[in-house]
Amino acid sequence: MKRSKAFGTAVISIVLGGGALALAGFALASAAPHQAPLQCQPIAGSPGNCTLTISSYPDSLAGEHGTTGGAHADWVSYSNYNLDVPANTTVHMVIKQYDSGGSLNNAFFSHVWGTTTGTATYSIPSTDGKTYSKPAALSVVDTNNIGHTFTLRGVPGNGTPIFVSIPLPANPATNSITIGSGTYSSPVLVSFTFKTGSKGVYEWNCEFPCGGSREGQFGEAMSSYGYMSGTVTVK
Protein backbone atom coordinates (compact mmCIF):
# COMPACT_ATOMS: atom_id res chain seq x y z
CA MET A 1 0.00 0.00 0.00
CA LYS A 2 2.80 2.35 1.00
CA ARG A 3 4.75 1.36 -2.11
CA SER A 4 1.83 1.98 -4.49
CA LYS A 5 1.20 5.34 -2.84
CA ALA A 6 4.84 6.34 -3.32
CA PHE A 7 4.70 5.14 -6.94
CA GLY A 8 1.54 7.18 -7.54
CA THR A 9 3.15 10.27 -6.04
CA ALA A 10 6.22 9.81 -8.26
CA VAL A 11 4.08 9.47 -11.40
CA ILE A 12 2.00 12.54 -10.53
CA SER A 13 5.18 14.54 -9.80
CA ILE A 14 6.68 13.56 -13.15
CA VAL A 15 3.47 14.43 -15.03
CA LEU A 16 3.09 17.77 -13.25
CA GLY A 17 6.79 18.58 -13.69
CA GLY A 18 6.65 17.73 -17.39
CA GLY A 19 3.49 19.80 -17.77
CA ALA A 20 5.12 22.79 -16.06
CA LEU A 21 8.14 22.51 -18.36
CA ALA A 22 5.92 22.27 -21.45
CA LEU A 23 3.95 25.31 -20.29
CA ALA A 24 7.13 27.30 -19.73
CA GLY A 25 8.41 26.30 -23.20
CA PHE A 26 5.09 27.26 -24.80
CA ALA A 27 5.12 30.63 -23.02
CA LEU A 28 8.68 31.33 -24.18
CA ALA A 29 7.86 30.32 -27.76
CA SER A 30 4.78 32.55 -27.73
CA ALA A 31 6.77 35.48 -26.37
CA ALA A 32 9.33 35.20 -29.20
CA PRO A 33 8.79 37.70 -32.00
CA HIS A 34 6.65 36.41 -34.85
CA GLN A 35 6.45 38.19 -38.12
CA ALA A 36 4.57 37.19 -41.25
CA PRO A 37 7.27 36.38 -43.83
CA LEU A 38 7.93 38.94 -46.53
CA GLN A 39 7.08 37.31 -49.84
CA CYS A 40 9.26 37.63 -52.90
CA GLN A 41 7.03 39.29 -55.48
CA PRO A 42 6.91 37.75 -58.98
CA ILE A 43 8.14 40.04 -61.74
CA ALA A 44 5.45 40.48 -64.36
CA GLY A 45 6.42 39.03 -67.73
CA SER A 46 9.54 37.43 -66.33
CA PRO A 47 8.79 33.92 -65.09
CA GLY A 48 11.36 32.45 -62.74
CA ASN A 49 12.20 35.86 -61.32
CA CYS A 50 10.96 37.67 -58.23
CA THR A 51 11.87 40.79 -56.32
CA LEU A 52 12.39 41.48 -52.64
CA THR A 53 13.19 44.76 -50.89
CA ILE A 54 14.29 45.13 -47.28
CA SER A 55 15.95 47.90 -45.27
CA SER A 56 18.55 48.19 -42.54
CA TYR A 57 17.97 50.88 -39.91
CA PRO A 58 20.06 52.33 -37.08
CA ASP A 59 17.15 51.67 -34.70
CA SER A 60 13.92 49.67 -34.51
CA LEU A 61 11.43 52.46 -35.17
CA ALA A 62 10.61 51.69 -38.79
CA GLY A 63 10.50 47.93 -39.07
CA GLU A 64 8.47 45.06 -37.72
CA HIS A 65 8.87 46.20 -34.12
CA GLY A 66 6.24 48.90 -34.68
CA THR A 67 6.32 52.65 -34.33
CA THR A 68 7.24 52.38 -30.65
CA GLY A 69 10.27 50.27 -31.54
CA GLY A 70 9.26 47.49 -29.18
CA ALA A 71 11.41 46.44 -26.23
CA HIS A 72 14.65 47.81 -27.66
CA ALA A 73 13.83 50.80 -29.83
CA ASP A 74 17.49 51.87 -29.97
CA TRP A 75 18.77 48.56 -31.35
CA VAL A 76 19.76 48.35 -35.01
CA SER A 77 17.40 46.26 -37.09
CA TYR A 78 16.45 45.02 -40.50
CA SER A 79 12.92 45.84 -41.64
CA ASN A 80 12.07 42.16 -42.11
CA TYR A 81 13.68 39.03 -40.81
CA ASN A 82 11.57 36.20 -42.23
CA LEU A 83 11.72 36.05 -46.00
CA ASP A 84 9.94 33.63 -48.34
CA VAL A 85 11.31 32.96 -51.81
CA PRO A 86 10.26 30.39 -54.42
CA ALA A 87 12.46 27.41 -55.28
CA ASN A 88 14.56 27.46 -58.46
CA THR A 89 14.06 31.18 -58.94
CA THR A 90 16.28 34.18 -59.53
CA VAL A 91 15.74 36.56 -56.64
CA HIS A 92 16.31 40.25 -57.40
CA MET A 93 16.99 41.75 -54.01
CA VAL A 94 17.28 45.39 -53.04
CA ILE A 95 18.54 46.53 -49.66
CA LYS A 96 18.12 50.13 -48.53
CA GLN A 97 20.88 50.90 -46.04
CA TYR A 98 20.05 53.78 -43.69
CA ASP A 99 22.71 53.22 -41.04
CA SER A 100 26.20 54.61 -40.56
CA GLY A 101 29.15 52.25 -40.19
CA GLY A 102 32.73 51.48 -39.40
CA SER A 103 35.36 48.75 -39.86
CA LEU A 104 34.69 45.06 -40.34
CA ASN A 105 36.56 42.65 -38.10
CA ASN A 106 37.00 40.22 -41.02
CA ALA A 107 37.82 41.52 -44.49
CA PHE A 108 36.22 38.40 -45.93
CA PHE A 109 32.84 40.10 -45.57
CA SER A 110 33.84 43.17 -47.54
CA HIS A 111 33.59 40.92 -50.61
CA VAL A 112 30.41 40.11 -52.51
CA TRP A 113 29.79 36.37 -52.40
CA GLY A 114 27.32 34.09 -54.15
CA THR A 115 25.48 36.45 -56.50
CA THR A 116 24.71 35.43 -60.07
CA THR A 117 27.14 38.02 -61.45
CA GLY A 118 29.71 37.92 -58.67
CA THR A 119 28.93 41.56 -57.98
CA ALA A 120 26.33 43.78 -56.34
CA THR A 121 25.24 47.16 -57.66
CA TYR A 122 25.81 50.14 -55.40
CA SER A 123 24.30 53.61 -55.58
CA ILE A 124 25.48 56.01 -52.90
CA PRO A 125 23.59 59.18 -51.92
CA SER A 126 25.32 62.54 -51.77
CA THR A 127 25.86 64.13 -48.38
CA ASP A 128 22.70 66.19 -48.72
CA GLY A 129 20.84 63.09 -49.86
CA LYS A 130 19.42 64.76 -52.96
CA THR A 131 21.42 62.98 -55.63
CA TYR A 132 22.84 59.52 -56.11
CA SER A 133 26.06 58.19 -57.61
CA LYS A 134 25.81 56.28 -60.86
CA PRO A 135 25.07 52.63 -59.99
CA ALA A 136 28.32 50.67 -59.92
CA ALA A 137 28.76 46.90 -59.98
CA LEU A 138 31.37 45.99 -57.35
CA SER A 139 32.77 42.72 -56.03
CA VAL A 140 34.43 44.29 -53.00
CA VAL A 141 33.89 47.48 -50.98
CA ASP A 142 35.97 49.41 -48.45
CA THR A 143 36.47 47.24 -45.35
CA ASN A 144 36.61 50.34 -43.18
CA ASN A 145 33.35 51.85 -44.36
CA ILE A 146 30.75 49.15 -43.81
CA GLY A 147 27.32 49.59 -42.24
CA HIS A 148 26.10 46.00 -42.20
CA THR A 149 26.20 42.79 -44.22
CA PHE A 150 23.42 40.55 -45.43
CA THR A 151 24.94 37.10 -45.12
CA LEU A 152 22.79 34.12 -46.09
CA ARG A 153 23.92 30.56 -45.78
CA GLY A 154 22.53 27.08 -45.82
CA VAL A 155 22.81 24.22 -43.43
CA PRO A 156 24.39 21.05 -44.87
CA GLY A 157 21.78 18.48 -45.75
CA ASN A 158 18.99 21.06 -45.94
CA GLY A 159 18.15 22.20 -49.47
CA THR A 160 20.58 23.30 -52.16
CA PRO A 161 23.74 24.90 -50.72
CA ILE A 162 23.54 28.70 -50.79
CA PHE A 163 26.08 31.22 -49.61
CA VAL A 164 25.34 34.86 -50.36
CA SER A 165 27.07 37.68 -48.53
CA ILE A 166 26.62 41.33 -49.44
CA PRO A 167 28.51 44.17 -47.73
CA LEU A 168 26.39 47.29 -47.22
CA PRO A 169 28.44 50.51 -47.20
CA ALA A 170 27.96 53.10 -44.48
CA ASN A 171 25.43 55.79 -45.31
CA PRO A 172 27.10 59.20 -45.89
CA ALA A 173 23.89 61.25 -46.21
CA THR A 174 22.91 63.71 -43.48
CA ASN A 175 19.50 64.87 -44.65
CA SER A 176 16.38 63.94 -42.73
CA ILE A 177 13.51 61.76 -43.87
CA THR A 178 10.86 60.13 -41.71
CA ILE A 179 9.91 56.48 -41.91
CA GLY A 180 7.59 55.05 -39.30
CA SER A 181 8.49 57.01 -36.18
CA GLY A 182 12.18 57.16 -37.04
CA THR A 183 14.20 59.89 -38.69
CA TYR A 184 16.83 58.77 -41.17
CA SER A 185 18.82 59.92 -44.20
CA SER A 186 18.47 58.93 -47.84
CA PRO A 187 19.58 55.29 -48.02
CA VAL A 188 22.44 53.61 -49.83
CA LEU A 189 20.85 51.41 -52.48
CA VAL A 190 22.31 47.96 -52.97
CA SER A 191 20.87 45.51 -55.48
CA PHE A 192 21.92 42.00 -56.39
CA THR A 193 20.54 38.72 -57.66
CA PHE A 194 20.96 35.16 -56.51
CA LYS A 195 19.43 31.86 -57.51
CA THR A 196 17.53 29.54 -55.24
CA GLY A 197 17.61 25.78 -55.58
CA SER A 198 15.43 23.19 -53.91
CA LYS A 199 13.17 23.82 -50.93
CA GLY A 200 14.78 24.45 -47.58
CA VAL A 201 15.19 26.86 -44.69
CA TYR A 202 18.27 29.06 -44.61
CA GLU A 203 19.68 31.37 -41.98
CA TRP A 204 20.90 34.90 -42.55
CA ASN A 205 22.51 37.44 -40.27
CA CYS A 206 24.67 40.55 -40.29
CA GLU A 207 28.41 40.01 -39.96
CA PHE A 208 29.31 43.59 -39.14
CA PRO A 209 29.86 43.90 -35.36
CA CYS A 210 26.94 46.24 -34.71
CA GLY A 211 25.45 44.83 -31.50
CA GLY A 212 26.19 45.79 -27.94
CA SER A 213 29.69 46.28 -26.64
CA ARG A 214 29.94 42.83 -25.11
CA GLU A 215 31.18 39.81 -27.05
CA GLY A 216 33.11 41.82 -29.63
CA GLN A 217 30.11 43.99 -30.50
CA PHE A 218 28.08 40.87 -31.21
CA GLY A 219 25.70 41.24 -28.26
CA GLU A 220 22.20 42.75 -27.98
CA ALA A 221 20.75 43.21 -31.49
CA MET A 222 23.26 40.76 -32.96
CA SER A 223 22.41 38.12 -30.40
CA SER A 224 18.64 38.50 -30.38
CA TYR A 225 16.33 36.99 -32.92
CA GLY A 226 14.42 39.45 -35.08
CA TYR A 227 16.89 42.31 -35.32
CA MET A 228 19.98 41.46 -37.37
CA SER A 229 19.20 37.86 -38.22
CA GLY A 230 16.40 35.75 -39.59
CA THR A 231 15.44 33.02 -41.98
CA VAL A 232 14.95 32.68 -45.70
CA THR A 233 12.49 29.93 -46.55
CA VAL A 234 12.75 28.55 -50.05
CA LYS A 235 9.29 27.17 -50.90
Partner: protein, 247 residues
Protein backbone atom coordinates in the same frame (compact mmCIF):
# COMPACT_ATOMS: atom_id res chain seq x y z
CA UNK B 1 25.08 -27.70 1.41
CA UNK B 2 26.11 -24.06 1.79
CA UNK B 3 29.36 -24.73 -0.10
CA UNK B 4 27.47 -26.30 -3.02
CA UNK B 5 25.12 -23.32 -3.17
CA UNK B 6 28.07 -20.94 -3.11
CA UNK B 7 29.81 -22.84 -5.94
CA UNK B 8 26.63 -22.88 -8.02
CA UNK B 9 26.19 -19.20 -7.29
CA UNK B 10 29.74 -18.38 -8.42
CA UNK B 11 29.33 -20.56 -11.52
CA UNK B 12 26.16 -18.69 -12.41
CA UNK B 13 27.92 -15.39 -11.93
CA UNK B 14 30.81 -16.58 -14.12
CA UNK B 15 28.50 -17.60 -16.96
CA UNK B 16 26.72 -14.25 -16.75
CA UNK B 17 30.12 -12.51 -16.86
CA UNK B 18 31.24 -14.63 -19.84
CA UNK B 19 28.02 -13.91 -21.74
CA UNK B 20 28.15 -10.18 -21.05
CA UNK B 21 31.84 -10.07 -21.96
CA UNK B 22 31.13 -11.75 -25.29
CA UNK B 23 28.33 -9.25 -26.01
CA UNK B 24 30.59 -6.38 -24.96
CA UNK B 25 33.42 -7.57 -27.21
CA UNK B 26 31.13 -7.86 -30.23
CA UNK B 27 29.77 -4.35 -29.61
CA UNK B 28 33.29 -2.99 -29.02
CA UNK B 29 34.60 -4.35 -32.30
CA UNK B 30 31.65 -3.60 -34.56
CA UNK B 31 29.88 -0.52 -33.13
CA UNK B 32 32.54 2.25 -33.29
CA UNK B 33 33.28 1.95 -36.98
CA UNK B 34 29.56 1.84 -37.77
CA UNK B 35 28.31 4.54 -35.41
CA UNK B 36 31.15 7.04 -35.75
CA UNK B 37 31.62 9.33 -38.77
CA UNK B 38 33.45 7.88 -41.76
CA UNK B 39 37.19 8.14 -41.31
CA UNK B 40 38.81 10.56 -43.79
CA UNK B 41 42.23 11.01 -42.16
CA UNK B 42 44.94 9.17 -40.22
CA UNK B 43 43.84 11.00 -37.05
CA UNK B 44 40.30 9.69 -37.34
CA UNK B 45 41.53 6.17 -38.09
CA UNK B 46 43.64 6.27 -34.92
CA UNK B 47 40.71 7.67 -32.92
CA UNK B 48 38.40 4.85 -34.01
CA UNK B 49 41.11 2.23 -33.36
CA UNK B 50 41.74 3.67 -29.89
CA UNK B 51 38.03 3.57 -29.04
CA UNK B 52 37.86 -0.07 -30.20
CA UNK B 53 40.91 -1.09 -28.15
CA UNK B 54 39.72 0.76 -25.03
CA UNK B 55 36.23 -0.72 -25.39
CA UNK B 56 37.65 -4.24 -25.76
CA UNK B 57 39.77 -3.70 -22.65
CA UNK B 58 36.79 -2.33 -20.74
CA UNK B 59 34.31 -5.04 -21.81
CA UNK B 60 35.34 -7.73 -19.24
CA UNK B 61 35.51 -5.14 -16.45
CA UNK B 62 32.07 -3.74 -17.24
CA UNK B 63 30.74 -7.29 -17.62
CA UNK B 64 32.11 -8.15 -14.15
CA UNK B 65 30.32 -5.19 -12.59
CA UNK B 66 27.04 -6.04 -14.32
CA UNK B 67 27.35 -9.78 -13.49
CA UNK B 68 27.78 -9.04 -9.77
CA UNK B 69 24.99 -6.47 -9.85
CA UNK B 70 22.60 -8.87 -11.62
CA UNK B 71 23.54 -11.67 -9.23
CA UNK B 72 22.96 -9.43 -6.22
CA UNK B 73 19.61 -8.25 -7.57
CA UNK B 74 18.49 -11.81 -8.18
CA UNK B 75 19.77 -13.58 -5.09
CA UNK B 76 20.39 -11.01 -2.40
CA UNK B 77 17.46 -8.64 -2.74
CA UNK B 78 15.29 -8.54 0.37
CA UNK B 79 11.55 -8.60 -0.19
CA UNK B 80 9.00 -7.55 2.37
CA UNK B 81 8.71 -4.77 4.93
CA UNK B 82 10.51 -6.51 7.81
CA UNK B 83 14.15 -5.92 8.68
CA UNK B 84 16.40 -8.36 6.74
CA UNK B 85 18.19 -11.02 8.75
CA UNK B 86 22.02 -10.85 8.90
CA UNK B 87 23.79 -12.72 6.14
CA UNK B 88 24.68 -16.29 7.07
CA UNK B 89 28.22 -15.90 5.80
CA UNK B 90 30.33 -13.02 4.48
CA UNK B 91 33.54 -12.92 2.50
CA UNK B 92 36.21 -10.85 4.20
CA UNK B 93 39.92 -10.36 3.57
CA UNK B 94 40.05 -12.65 0.56
CA UNK B 95 43.74 -12.26 -0.33
CA UNK B 96 43.62 -13.94 -3.75
CA UNK B 97 40.63 -11.86 -4.82
CA UNK B 98 42.22 -8.62 -3.58
CA UNK B 99 45.58 -9.25 -5.25
CA UNK B 100 43.94 -10.36 -8.52
CA UNK B 101 41.74 -7.27 -8.61
CA UNK B 102 44.57 -4.83 -7.89
CA UNK B 103 46.91 -6.57 -10.35
CA UNK B 104 44.32 -6.66 -13.15
CA UNK B 105 43.40 -3.01 -12.56
CA UNK B 106 47.06 -1.98 -12.60
CA UNK B 107 47.85 -3.87 -15.78
CA UNK B 108 44.79 -2.50 -17.48
CA UNK B 109 45.55 1.07 -16.43
CA UNK B 110 49.20 0.86 -17.49
CA UNK B 111 48.16 -0.59 -20.85
CA UNK B 112 45.66 2.23 -21.43
CA UNK B 113 48.24 4.82 -20.37
CA UNK B 114 50.91 3.51 -22.74
CA UNK B 115 48.45 3.22 -25.62
CA UNK B 116 47.07 6.70 -24.93
CA UNK B 117 50.51 8.32 -24.78
CA UNK B 118 51.52 6.52 -27.98
CA UNK B 119 48.37 7.66 -29.77
CA UNK B 120 48.91 11.22 -28.55
CA UNK B 121 52.51 11.16 -29.80
CA UNK B 122 51.40 9.96 -33.23
CA UNK B 123 48.62 12.58 -33.29
CA UNK B 124 51.01 15.40 -32.38
CA UNK B 125 53.74 14.20 -34.74
CA UNK B 126 55.38 16.35 -37.40
CA UNK B 127 53.28 18.07 -40.00
CA UNK B 128 55.17 16.86 -43.05
CA UNK B 129 57.69 18.45 -45.39
CA UNK B 130 55.28 20.56 -47.40
CA UNK B 131 52.18 21.25 -45.34
CA UNK B 132 49.30 23.23 -46.75
CA UNK B 133 48.56 26.10 -44.36
CA UNK B 134 44.90 27.02 -44.01
CA UNK B 135 43.84 29.94 -41.83
CA UNK B 136 40.56 29.20 -40.08
CA UNK B 137 38.54 32.07 -38.62
CA UNK B 138 35.46 31.53 -36.49
CA UNK B 139 32.99 34.28 -35.79
CA UNK B 140 29.32 34.36 -34.96
CA UNK B 141 28.15 32.27 -36.82
CA UNK B 142 30.33 31.40 -39.74
CA UNK B 143 33.62 29.77 -40.55
CA UNK B 144 35.84 31.42 -43.13
CA UNK B 145 38.99 29.95 -44.61
CA UNK B 146 41.96 31.55 -46.32
CA UNK B 147 44.92 30.00 -48.08
CA UNK B 148 48.08 32.05 -47.42
CA UNK B 149 50.19 32.69 -50.49
CA UNK B 150 47.26 32.53 -52.85
CA UNK B 151 44.97 35.31 -51.50
CA UNK B 152 42.09 32.86 -51.78
CA UNK B 153 39.29 33.07 -49.23
CA UNK B 154 36.33 30.75 -49.03
CA UNK B 155 33.26 30.04 -46.88
CA UNK B 156 33.80 26.32 -47.53
CA UNK B 157 36.90 24.22 -46.92
CA UNK B 158 38.63 22.48 -49.82
CA UNK B 159 41.58 20.19 -49.07
CA UNK B 160 43.88 18.04 -51.20
CA UNK B 161 44.12 14.32 -50.56
CA UNK B 162 47.40 12.96 -49.17
CA UNK B 163 48.95 16.30 -48.16
CA UNK B 164 49.31 17.36 -44.56
CA UNK B 165 47.12 20.36 -43.73
CA UNK B 166 48.26 22.76 -41.02
CA UNK B 167 45.23 24.63 -39.66
CA UNK B 168 45.89 28.01 -38.02
CA UNK B 169 42.73 28.56 -36.01
CA UNK B 170 41.44 31.73 -34.35
CA UNK B 171 38.20 33.52 -33.45
CA UNK B 172 37.10 37.14 -33.68
CA UNK B 173 34.39 37.47 -31.05
CA UNK B 174 33.79 34.60 -28.64
CA UNK B 175 35.28 31.14 -28.26
CA UNK B 176 34.23 28.71 -30.98
CA UNK B 177 35.08 25.05 -31.47
CA UNK B 178 36.58 23.93 -34.78
CA UNK B 179 35.46 20.36 -35.40
CA UNK B 180 35.83 18.10 -38.39
CA UNK B 181 34.38 14.84 -37.12
CA UNK B 182 35.48 12.83 -40.16
CA UNK B 183 39.10 13.80 -39.59
CA UNK B 184 39.27 13.48 -35.82
CA UNK B 185 40.09 17.18 -35.58
CA UNK B 186 38.62 19.28 -32.78
CA UNK B 187 40.10 22.29 -30.99
CA UNK B 188 38.83 25.57 -29.56
CA UNK B 189 39.12 28.71 -31.65
CA UNK B 190 40.07 31.45 -29.20
CA UNK B 191 40.01 35.22 -29.60
CA UNK B 192 43.49 36.72 -29.93
CA UNK B 193 45.21 33.35 -30.10
CA UNK B 194 46.17 31.19 -33.06
CA UNK B 195 46.06 27.47 -32.40
CA UNK B 196 47.77 25.09 -34.81
CA UNK B 197 46.47 21.65 -35.61
CA UNK B 198 47.32 19.35 -38.46
CA UNK B 199 45.86 16.35 -40.20
CA UNK B 200 46.36 14.47 -43.45
CA UNK B 201 43.18 13.76 -45.43
CA UNK B 202 43.32 10.30 -46.97
CA UNK B 203 39.83 9.86 -48.41
CA UNK B 204 38.07 11.82 -51.14
CA UNK B 205 34.61 13.15 -50.36
CA UNK B 206 32.58 15.65 -48.41
CA UNK B 207 32.54 16.43 -44.71
CA UNK B 208 31.01 18.98 -42.36
CA UNK B 209 32.83 21.61 -40.33
CA UNK B 210 30.96 22.38 -37.12
CA UNK B 211 31.25 24.56 -34.05
CA UNK B 212 31.43 22.67 -30.76
CA UNK B 213 31.28 25.61 -28.37
CA UNK B 214 27.88 27.10 -27.60
CA UNK B 215 28.61 30.50 -29.10
CA UNK B 216 25.30 32.31 -29.23
CA UNK B 217 22.03 32.70 -31.09
CA UNK B 218 22.83 30.82 -34.30
CA UNK B 219 25.40 28.39 -32.92
CA UNK B 220 23.30 25.48 -34.20
CA UNK B 221 23.73 26.78 -37.74
CA UNK B 222 27.47 27.37 -37.55
CA UNK B 223 28.11 24.56 -39.98
CA UNK B 224 29.75 24.54 -43.36
CA UNK B 225 30.84 21.92 -45.82
CA UNK B 226 34.28 20.75 -46.79
CA UNK B 227 35.58 18.61 -49.61
CA UNK B 228 38.69 16.50 -50.05
CA UNK B 229 39.75 16.50 -53.71
CA UNK B 230 42.71 15.14 -55.62
CA UNK B 231 45.87 17.29 -55.63
CA UNK B 232 45.28 18.16 -59.30
CA UNK B 233 41.69 19.21 -58.61
CA UNK B 234 42.87 21.26 -55.65
CA UNK B 235 45.44 23.13 -57.76
CA UNK B 236 42.78 23.88 -60.36
CA UNK B 237 40.32 25.06 -57.70
CA UNK B 238 42.91 27.29 -56.05
CA UNK B 239 43.93 28.84 -59.37
CA UNK B 240 40.31 29.42 -60.39
CA UNK B 241 39.46 31.03 -57.06
CA UNK B 242 42.58 33.19 -57.11
CA UNK B 243 41.69 34.45 -60.56
CA UNK B 244 38.03 35.07 -59.67
CA UNK B 245 38.84 36.84 -56.40
CA UNK B 246 41.52 38.96 -58.03
CA UNK B 247 38.96 40.17 -60.52
Amino acid sequence: MATTNKKESLRGMFFTWALLTAIGLVISVYAPSRLMPRSMSDNMHLTILTIIVFSVAAAPVAAGVYAVALHALRHWMHRGDDVPAPASEQTREHATLTVSWVLASTLLTVFLLIWGLGALAVDNGGNGANPLVVNVTGQQWLWTFSYPGSNVQSPTLVLPEGRTVDFHITALDVTHGFWIANMGVQVDANVGTTTELHTTPNQLGQFDVRCTQFCGLNHAFMVTTGTVVTPAQFSTWLATQAKAQKA
